[in-house]
Subunit: 327 residues, 2 copies
């Protein structure tokens, strides 16, 4: 198999179906922003994982297309609403919905997207696993809201622990990756062992991916990353690095600097390098990389429970590329 | 049967279950506002109609409790988000969620409420009508968003027709009344004839109720109504009265006044009486009352398709009281 071709096949399949399934109807003031969001790019990683879950279990990805698009709509709904909350001006190099239109339209666009996501998911209602699929999907909506509010709560919480952090990224980021793979598996009538493996892979890759994001924010090449190195620190984010540093630093001056970070809710441009030096001095990067690798390894440990086919091969390839990304 | 007792029974049943089923969990920053909204009062008319639909079909309302609470959560989600869009400070004499907390929390509270509404609805997933119930519920979410945006679009549209108006109130208000009764019927395993009757009753009562609201805004007793007479006109709303007046007025001075209303997006306090005089001169009130009565009559015409039982008796009583309300 030519893996990159297969990936492109799935991507084209997803894009075509998004384009076909996102409604073009009245009132335009609602469906134009909906289309704008859904056709505005994105890596489509979640719908592709959903198709792969189905293909791994059944050797065919086609049946999962409605859930794949439903999951991508759900993901994009969270982006539209998060962008309002974070007051973000741009997403995928285009103005966010609330900037291009207004807050009211962005709120309603997100809301109607939930309805359409269920509308598509419900097309699987004759599937024998439908009840479980519906439960996973509904649970995801609840947990992604919990993850977002936990993330927002972190702004006002100086005592975020590593457990708090893992719980937050589990809900905000990892659960949807997990849900994508496991709903795909259920549509492909996976066995219980395959289901557990897909869940574990999704969850662990999701956690590893977010930790990797935190690390790359400090160590990537700025041009490749497409944003400033240390951007999270400028924004005062509670990344795994600063949380671990807070727990670890022993010398007074370093302690004070970390305290300053938490009290000040962020750093100035020229202070990034001080934090970088602290991260190096106390092996914080190594800690985070170990943690990330542990999650990637957990995911990989589950490969053996999945039947060998081209979908499994592609999933392994995607995760391996993810693991080795430099930005 | 003592009807008022029965109504109170159902109301107590709804209140108790809302209190039991609305989650009390972490993160508090999300679930406190959720509880605040759900335990903050409200007439509970939609869940009661849902129970009645079930009771009419099956002589027992108990089975419909999850959908009843799901519908009430759905209704309250729309209020939380609408209040942000309309920048309303108070709801049920208490600060709105976005005023008591903030916009971000209000957006997320509404979002998580959709998830919980589905969570409860899904408890009916072994019911033979579940797919249809799920479809109606999902459709309601989509249409209520469409109704809200149509209503917002009216602010910028000087050419709203009566058909536009009916379409808007159908989606924004009537559909949920219709959905409440018909999902109840489906849970009670109603016949197709009963289902159609419940749908028709819900839709027509919903339309009549909204038209009645527009009329009462001008003709009710101010103390009983609990707000200023002519409040809709102060806000420049496109009520059935002003839309019909725009279509009807013939004399130049009246035409100009109506034009002024549409261009100015509302009136000043002392101009309400001028509009009231125009409404009287051109029989606009009579037109709206006829229209309202036509919808109430349409609803009543469907009673004959429903089996006689105490639930039907209570439904008829509720609609009759609604029809005769003076505020």
């Amino acid at each position: 198999m030519n893996i990159s071709l297969k990936y492109q096949d799935l991507l084209n399949f997803v894009e075509k179906n998004i384009s076909d399934l996102v409604p073009e109807c009245e009132p335009k003031s609602l469906y134009e922003p909906f289309k704008y969001v859904m056709l505005g790019g994105g890596k489509r990683i979640r719908p592709i994982l959903n198709l792969l879950g189905c293909g791994i279990a059944s050797n065919d990805h086609n049946e999962a297309i409605y859930s794949a698009v439903a999951i991508e709509i759900l993901h994009n709904f969270t982006l539209v609403h998060d962008d309002i909350m974070d007051n973000s001006n741009f997403r995928r190099n285009k103005p966010t919905v609330h900037k291009k239109w207004n807050n009211a339209i962005a709120i309603l666009t997100g809301d109607v997207m939930i309805g359409y996501a269920y509308n598509l998911l419900n097309k699987h209602n004759n599937h024998r696993n439908f009840n479980q699929i519906l439960k996973l999907f509904t649970n995801e909506i609840i947990e992604v809201c919990e993850g977002q509010i936990l993330d927002m709560d972190f702004n006002y919480n100086k005592n975020v622990t590593l457990d708090d952090y893992i719980n937050m990224i589990d809900k905000k980021t990892a659960r949807l990756i997990e849900t994508s793979l496991s709903i795909g598996g259920l549509i492909g009538n996976c066995s219980q062992i395959e289901y557990n493996a897909l869940k574990n892979i999704g969850k662990n890759v999701g956690l590893a991916f977010q930790i990797q994001d935190d690390i790359l924010d400090m160590v990537a090449n700025e041009t490749e990353l497409g944003k400033k190195i240390g951007n999270d620190l400028l924004e005062g984010k509670k990344t795994i690095l600063v949380i671990k540093a807070k727990e670890t630093v022993s010398e007074n001056a370093d302690k004070e600097f970390i305290e300053y970070y938490f009290n000040n809710n962020g750093l100035k441009d020229d202070e990034i390098k001080i934090m970088d030096a602290i991260f190096k001095k106390y092996n914080i990067y190594d800690f985070a990389i170990d943690k990330m690798n542990k999650y990637f390894n957990n995911a990989e440990d589950n490969y053996k429970y999945l039947k060998d086919n081209e979908y499994k091969e592609l999933l392994i390839d995607i995760i391996s590329k993810l693991k080795n990304r430099k930005y």
